[in-house]
Symmetry: C2
Subunit: 228 residues, 2 copies
């Protein structure tokens, strides 16, 4: 029986755009595990009640229910053989830094560039919730958050310098092969790729070349994803 994953979807159920769900989509594919995804929308917390919390990703693997992308990645690594996501205790401990960096610098930076665009792709029934909760988080109107993004994107791109430096020394963040570190960063970059038409990376950025390689993995799982 396939693992079931609850996956954030837009009004179009094929449009999947959560940076945390994408990390797990890649991780499942890396482990060679088939998955059946269930489209889920903001505020459908009742549908996740079985998990004891209200956010995606959530996976159901037989009797086991696991939520939170990091906890799911840990679960998959512990439960299943196949290519490593973390590669031991230190590999996991060090990947936490990549995860923490992505959860602060990367998601924060991307959010400021595309948060208004997300309104256009989500189901109209959830737009009020989305606007209210995100305007509270940013402290201003969503339209104002994105103002000047054509100039602001330069600072965002600068903030990714650590990724560029790593990719000068090795082809993947995981070294000679992709690891969960790659899926953390690439999964987060799938968010703007799918939810917006704004290019957060320059075409000639080495990060874009690497991101393209990640998207090409697993039969083009990322490359073929539905976009806004």
């Amino acid at each position: 029986m396939s693992i079931v994953m609850y996956d954030l979807a837009g009004a179009d159920p094929e449009l999947r755009f959560s940076p945390y769900c994408w990390r797990i989509r890649f991780a499942l594919a890396h482990k060679g595990l088939p998955v059946e995804t269930v489209p889920w929308r903001f505020t459908e917390t009742d549908k996740l009640a079985f998990s004891g919390q209200g956010k995606v990703p959530v996976i159901r693997d037989g009797d086991r229910v696991v939520s939170d992308s990091w906890a799911i990645a840990e679960y998959l690594e512990d439960r299943y053989d196949g290519p490593a996501l973390f590669g031991g205790a230190l590999g996991k401990a060090h990947a936490r830094f990549v995860n923490a960096w992505a959860d602060s610098v990367l998601t924060g930076g991307i959010g400021r560039l595309i948060v208004r665009d997300i309104l256009d792709i989500i189901d109209p029934a959830h737009r009020d919730y989305f606007r209210t909760s995100r305007e509270q988080r940013f402290g201003r109107r969503l339209e104002d958050v994105q103002v000047g993004r054509e100039e602001g994107v330069a600072e965002f791109r600068n903030s990714l310098q650590a990724v560029r430096l790593v990719l000068r020394s090795q082809p993947w963040l995981g070294g000679t092969a992709p690891s969960y570190a790659d899926f953390i960063v690439a999964g987060t970059l799938m968010w703007p790729r799918c939810a917006s038409r704004f290019a957060v990376l320059a075409d000639d950025d080495p990060i874009e070349a690497w991101f393209q390689r990640v998207r090409g993995l697993f039969g083009g799982l990322g490359e073929g994803a539905r976009r806004a």
Copy 2:
């Protein structure tokens, strides 16, 4: 025979302040390896000619000479047993991200806060070199780089959020025990600690509590270090 390490020193030969040398001092101590340090000053490139390049840290271990902090850490891990610095291929691959982040965000941010202070601790004979090379790098007078640092330090502290997030989940960047990831970040923080009296961290920052614990390791190697 002890490993010999060429270590950046101030006018006071006991004042050691290189972020890259400190990473290796901690790494050597972690491996339980005795070291004999040789104080080295900017522009004494002739003294490093044997290494084929002109920067510290350089170590001589019997017949082996290794330069560049990352290459030295790799060498120590491959050559010596004892507590792990990297913990396997993925542990090392993921630590590269921490290293790259420290070499961009951390050293860049600290440099902008304390670069002028360094002039006061280095040998007068090397001050012209230091001023000229650093003013070229920053594109302005050293005094101007530090202007407004009492306010600018808030942005620097914000840029360390990934470290804080990791330390919420585990006591060390290496997980349950220190690893080279801890020595990368703590070694870099030894630079402002030893070269300046300006506090780059707030006293109540969880990063400061962790940094204090790293300084207390190895008989207080970091805690007891000579300061400006």
